[in-house]
Symmetry: C2
Subunit: 882 residues, 2 copies
């Protein structure tokens, strides 16, 4: 038997989503459980893939199979495509594995032509029916011309407008049969003029044209964009369902509607939806007439309502999830046209999940799988007021760098932000890019918008840590910040103007949109508790400040996986000390400078230990290149020279010498500790002394974990570890009380992963720094890749941002190698990840699968990580079953 | 039995070099074949390693073993350390696995003290003997104080000078016994004053002190430096030989000398050396008296001469290599103190190798193993006149970036270099760093000196390609080029001053040293022919210009492994076109600019094909980031704007937009071809049209290989390959004649190595770009690493420059992975390397071992690579033996 590409609804079922698409699989399932569905067939997603493999053509054997199945449904429905006596009209719809609402094309009323139209009219005595037939015919011509043949929609609308003007009416509904006939004629003339041939009368030609158009629409611009936003692979393809038309607009005993089994905004149980009598689906959407609440159907059509609510109930029980259904009533008979798991808000998602467990319909594990971890973001951050958002205009769009909604007045510098915020004004900080010096200004802003930088740029990382909304890398902005304005797509935005940002979508609005604050219901705590019971992967947080750590602790972080010590170096008194360190000429001078930093670092660590209440705290030693700390303006440089009693020229010289061609590949990480071991001594002293201070003050246990960054060679780690241990052990001996501390290594240099068996001889734990590991493995820097990655997405070379989603084929392979080699040397080695990927659900699933001990992510991603970790365990259990 | 750390000479043999050091093993070997060697013992290199493991102390069991062996040699020699009646005096010498002449410490006359001195004098009636004894004694005190106790040599010299002044004499030899007694007294007083204790009279204390001092000297500064220069691992350690003293200065029937079995400068067969009667080894070296030619010994002492020449002959036959020997005659009796394979010039090395084959002493394979490939460099480049070099002073030293010697007048810009060279002046170009725009100036210079940049900086790579001497990365220079001078260690060097550079050592001289030109003898061709017969690894060249290609072809390159197309872009008319390309806004504009480049590129390729006479030519498509091509000075920018009819501001904007934070990880390599496929189209057209033109003109066959740089993902290669093949196949179809071309991939991004099974689906060949692969794998850039790698060398974290010698543990592991994965997909895949490592002998051996097809290196390294490849095959045969 030849390979099968086409399936009757009755041949499929709900589990065949990959082959039949979501819509097709559900139509098949409804057919199988005996619900009233117009009986059609589905052309599989594999046929779509073949279509693209065959250079956008449908192979003869597939075409033959389509017509074989057409004949089967003609028999089932006792109608025939193109037969004027018993004409079959069909809808041709797309349907991918994942729902992509409205992204691809649909064609209705297919099969109509002059003969069929005449036949239909002849077979119906209702005088209004002729108008209905011509309206359907002209709509089909219009749709086919646009979707299949690519003619401009606009010209058709102009024709309609001209006819209405001639007739002096405003609404389509006011046109009579003759008007519609004229319209049809004009449409067909325009078609012939543009394409040099008659509008096809052969329904078979119409059918194949429509199928191809649906396949083609898989790769239209908005579908590609939607897939990119929703991480749907372009290789999946769409299925095509061909279904007999049923008409909700046939008469007053007909109608159409959509309904959910529960309220999609709140999750409350009960039918929730709308319907319109004597209407087609389009009319409900178009908003010309106002639909009625589904409850009213109980009054107007109690039998149909009863049947529909029974079906709704049955479908929810069958699918064990809230359903979103479409139905049509044709002449009093109910038809189900679609069902799917309903989209819902985050709050509703939690309530539905909890309620379904309480109703005994699903297990806790099933409930956990029901909520998309990323959706939790909406509960943790302010959101736009939904109604206000509908009326707002998206002016530009960039990277959704840190979720939440923000509205405020434009400022162009951290200083301005602080000043305006102090006056009680809400501000949005707009910058070319942010630098560590901007932190305080970022903190007081509602949101941050940058022209440069990707998902892991400074602005993005810091904003996520703070939970502040951030949209980054908006290259469409021309900055004139010194003149007090910026331009974007021809709009000029001045300092003080209101703008709004959506950090979850990357949308930018040049208007004030009110926001509603974040709120967590009781369901949240209950649901997250289930996640914690299930998961085997630990969840820690990346936190540098007590505030961040506290937030993360409240969100359930089980420790700090990454404390970036350098983020503490930018406050005024500290930056002075670190600059003094940098311009020092001798080890002695450097030690003097470091001695000034020591009490401050120690104080920071004490606060972090206290907040974390005995949970592990991993402190990464100084990582960035020193030039990030030096002053750039002449005044500061002169001050520094004066403080240090050095000639200004010499300070300039020192700063110039710090210049690097490729700072990402320069003198940073543990390379600094190799050059200046006194730096590691000071940081170790702060870590250990802080631990003793907190243990004494609070009586709680403290286990510091010291993490050495940018290790690439075992001897490098040996050298730095010796400095750390010599320093720590001397303090411990002096204190005379035991203290347990660990020393581990970041794995972020490919060579460290490749020689992890060696590294594990010294490292008591590994933490994968997948931000840098991704950069080195791909050989592109996140700061620069933005310029060309769009070309790569556009050409389908990369589909996902490897800085947001772990590249499992390349970077992941290095990680697996490192895990295997590390365990070979040290079977109980602790394995973590502290790159941005630690907060990304698919990356978390991968980390779970390769056996990591924990992930660490920014505070606001902790709940997401807890849920993603639970889902990973359910899908791929690591826990030994009892 | 306890672990053995000490060996009698008679317990060892010549193959125990690792354990006994070179000197020790050869002493053992000479003992075993019955030559007259004073019988001593050797403390093994393992004892040295233990010494460092035990925190620089000698374990009691080793000390005990040393004294056990001391007693054994006391019995053999019938003398006893410290016994006034039959005193044994010994020398204590270092001796590592590899020869490190003069780098470590030696102590002579050990065992002398007041009693022994008195005993010696009492046992000898010669009145001059007393002076000899006191001279030996004071020399021992001097040497011991310096070497073992670390007292300043200078103070001892001052004491000697004061005594000579008092006495009114100039030479040590004019001092009598009483003077020497006084000197000894003053030495011992100084010793006591400085160290608070008497000079040790106990010979056992002296012995242990001396052994420790030798161990310690393994890590003195000059030894570390020497090891770094000669790639000797610091883990090897040194052995210590303890040997009874024999005295060439006992009387006129005594003497000492050194001799080679062949002339070390020319390789001519025959004893070649010097001797002095009534002298110790030191005297020969010190140059106070002029030694006589070894031939004269035949006259003055025919018996000893005969005995010595027989021994020399026997040793050469025994070791089957030219020997370098030390001997002493004590009272008419000949003692052999050392033999080793003699160091020789490159010319001598080739002659000796060829002669030994002709003499039937060794096989061709043994001859090939006898010559260090790196030594061939000296035959291919000018060298300093040896005599003049001896008198010259090294003022500074930096990286030996491109071998050869150069002497000329300082210039500070490429323009000056061209101008001065046109006048017939020889110039040295001194630059902070070079850029592609400097190429012409570099070409006319005798040598190049840069302040910044490593072994693979632009200056280094280009200079090696040209065969021009280059010393790079001399950070000790303070440039004041705009004021027309530079400073180095307090010396001011003005424009026009003469300096000399040694590109083989990195030495810099602030004086003119005459050079002698390169010259190749007939032995060279014969010897290299043997190498070609043996090797299984191909050798290609990296060449961008016909001149380079011609040079490489003459040196035996079997094809071009890397032609960097961008190196052709810097000539005036071309740079204009590429700049036009860069500032273009549309594909059409870019195509116009590229059309101007096409005929020039095609012309270049035609010349390369012709020079290579049908051998394969691999052309790498455009690699560097575009900002390397844009003008930097305002005038050029304005000109460009005018040419392009664009506002100047817009051109500035374009140039600013090209700025990258980390250009090494930016928009370059095939990323350019993804963004601008028209670039790949143009380059493909040039490659293919050039092939047809040359085939037509010359009738020879041309097989172009197109190489796509910086590939990290299969889809990226697929995209670019499709552009290449579509373009090429269209031309081939138009031409109507077959043309075979290949498309391959650089493997220089870690991700490409990790996914090489995928990459090989498209790539017909791989070429490892180990420069970049090393950068990404280590996560440091070669341009920036110079700043901290010295700290790493100093702390023994890295011992070798990974950009000069392939890192087999990390980068090598990625290469092995890529080779295995690549062959899995495409068993006959061609595998090459075109990084700088392709010309480094140890890296070549590694490439051979992992199964590469060929290495590609700069033209002047081709002979080195041919020899290294032959040696690799001999050591580790890949050829299936018949």
């Amino acid at each position: 038997m030849a390979y099968k590409y086409v399936y009757l609804f009755s041949e499929g079922n709900g589990s065949m989503r990959e082959l039949l698409g979501g819509k097709g699989a559900n139509l098949a399932e409804m057919t199988n459980i005996g619900l009233p569905v117009p009986q059609g067939f589905i052309i599989s997603t594999e046929a779509c893939t073949r279509y693209y493999e065959d250079n956008e053509s449908i192979a003869p054997e597939i075409e033959a199979e389509i017509f074989e199945y057409l004949h089967k449904i003609e028999e089932i429905n006792d109608k025939k495509l193109g037969d004027p006596a018993k004409p079959l009209l069909v809808s041709v719809r797309s349907g991918a594995r994942a729902s992509m609402p409205g992204m691809m094309d649909t064609i209705l009323n297919l099969g109509i032509n002059d003969e069929v139209a005449a036949g239909l009219i002849a077979g119906n005595s209702d005088p209004k029916f002729e108008r209905f037939v011509y309206d359907s015919y002209r709509r089909f011509v219009q749709m086919y011309s646009d979707v299949v043949m690519g003619l401009s929609k606009k010209r058709f609308e102009t024709i309609i407008d001209e006819i209405k003007e001639k007739k002096g009416v405003k609404q389509d509904i006011e046109l009579d049969t003759e008007d519609l006939k004229e319209m049809l004629q004009l449409f067909r003339e325009f078609y012939k003029k543009e394409l040099g041939e008659e509008f096809p009368q052969d329904p078979n030609v119409q059918l194949m044209g429509a199928v191809k158009a649906v396949f083609r629409s898989w790769n239209n611009e908005r579908a590609i964009f939607y897939r990119k936003m929703n991480e749907i692979p372009s290789s999946w393809g769409t299925a095509v369902s061909v279904m007999p038309m049923v008409f909700g607009n046939l008469n007053n005993n007909s109608g159409t509607g959509v309904a959910f089994t529960r309220n999609p905004a709140t999750g409350e149980k009960g039918l929730f939806g709308e319907f319109l009598m004597n209407a087609q689906g389009e009319d409900v959407v178009a908003g010309v007439r106002t639909p009625s609440s589904i409850d009213e159907l109980a009054q107007t059509n109690p039998d149909v309502y009863k049947q529909f609510s029974e079906i709704a109930n049955r479908l929810e029980n069958h699918y064990r999830d809230m359903q979103d259904m479409e139905f049509t009533i044709e002449n009093g008979k109910l038809y189900m046209l679609q069902t799917r798991n309903g989209k819902r808000t985050a709050a509703a998602a939690l309530r539905v999940a909890c309620d379904l467990v309480d109703e005994g319909m699903i297990s806790k594990e099933e409930a956990l799988l029901m909520v998309d971890p990323k959706q939790l973001d909406a509960l943790l951050h302010p959101q736009f007021d939904a109604d206000a958002l509908k009326k707002a205009t998206v002016v530009a769009s960039a990277l959704p760098a840190s979720p939440g909604a923000a509205c405020g007045q434009v400022v162009f510098s951290a200083e301005e932000a602080i000043e305006e915020a102090a006056k009680g004004n809400k501000v949005i900080l707009v910058r070319l890019e942010t630098s560590p010096e901007d932190i305080e200004g970022m903190h007081v802003s509602q949101g941050i918008l940058t022209v440069r930088g990707g998902m892991t740029s400074h602005a993005a990382v810091v904003a996520r840590g703070m939970g502040t909304c951030c949209v980054s890398g908006c290259g469409d902005i021309n900055m004139h910040d010194e003149e007090g304005y910026f331009e974007v797509f021809g709009h000029r935005v001045n300092r003080g103007d209101y703008i709004s940002l959506d950090g979850s979508t990357g949308n930018i609005y040049l208007e004030a949109i009110p926001t509603v604050p974040a709120s967590l219901s009781g369901n949240f705590g209950r649901f997250m508790g289930w996640a914690d019971e299930v998961r085997t992967l630990g969840v820690r947080t990346n936190a540098d400040t007590p505030a961040d750590a506290k937030q993360a602790f409240e969100y359930g972080a089980e420790g700090i996986g990454l404390c970036r010590t350098e983020h503490m170096f930018f406050e005024t008194d500290r930056i002075a000390a670190i600059r003094e360190f940098i311009v020092s000429k001798t080890t002695e001078q450097r030690k003097v400078a470091l001695a000034k930093l020591l009490p401050m670092q120690q104080g920071d660590f004490e606060q972090l230990y206290e907040v974390m209440q005995g949970k592990p705290v991993t402190i990464r030693f100084l990582d960035p290149p020193l030039h990030e700390f030096v002053p750039t303006n002449p005044e500061d440089i002169e001050n520094l020279a004066n403080t240090m009693n050095l000639p200004v020229e010499e300070v300039y010289q020192t700063i110039n010498n710090l210049h690097e061609f490729n700072p990402m590949m320069g003198h940073r990480g543990c390379r600094l500790a190799v050059s200046y071991p006194e730096l590691a001594e000071m940081q170790t002293t702060a870590v250990i002394q802080a631990a003793y201070a907190v243990m004494e003050r609070t009586g709680m246990d403290v286990t510091p974990e010291i993490m050495i960054p940018l290790v690439g060679e075992i001897k490098e780690l040996q050298y730095v570890k010796k400095v750390v241990c010599d320093t720590a052990d001397a303090i411990i001996e002096k204190m005379g009380k035991p203290l347990h501390y660990k020393v581990g290594s970041m794995i972020e240099i490919p060579r460290a992963a490749l020689t992890a068996d060696e590294i594990a001889k010294e490292a008591e734990f590994f933490s994968f720094g997948t931000n840098d590991l991704t950069q080195y493995t791909f050989g592109f820097s996140r700061d620069d890749a933005g310029k060309f990655l769009n070309d790569y997405y556009g050409k389908n070379i990369y589909e996902l941002d490897p800085f947001a989603h772990l590249d499992q084929d390349g970077v992941g392979r290095l990680m697996k190698t490192a895990v295997a080699l590390g365990k070979q040397t040290r079977p109980d080695i602790k394995l973590g990840i502290c790159g941005e990927h630690g907060g990304d659900p698919t990356s978390i699933e991968f980390c779970h699968s390769i056996g990591l001990t924990y992930v660490s992510c920014s505070p606001f991603r902790v709940p997401i990580a807890r849920l993603a970790a639970a889902q990973a365990e359910i899908k791929n259990p690591r826990r030994v079953q009892a």
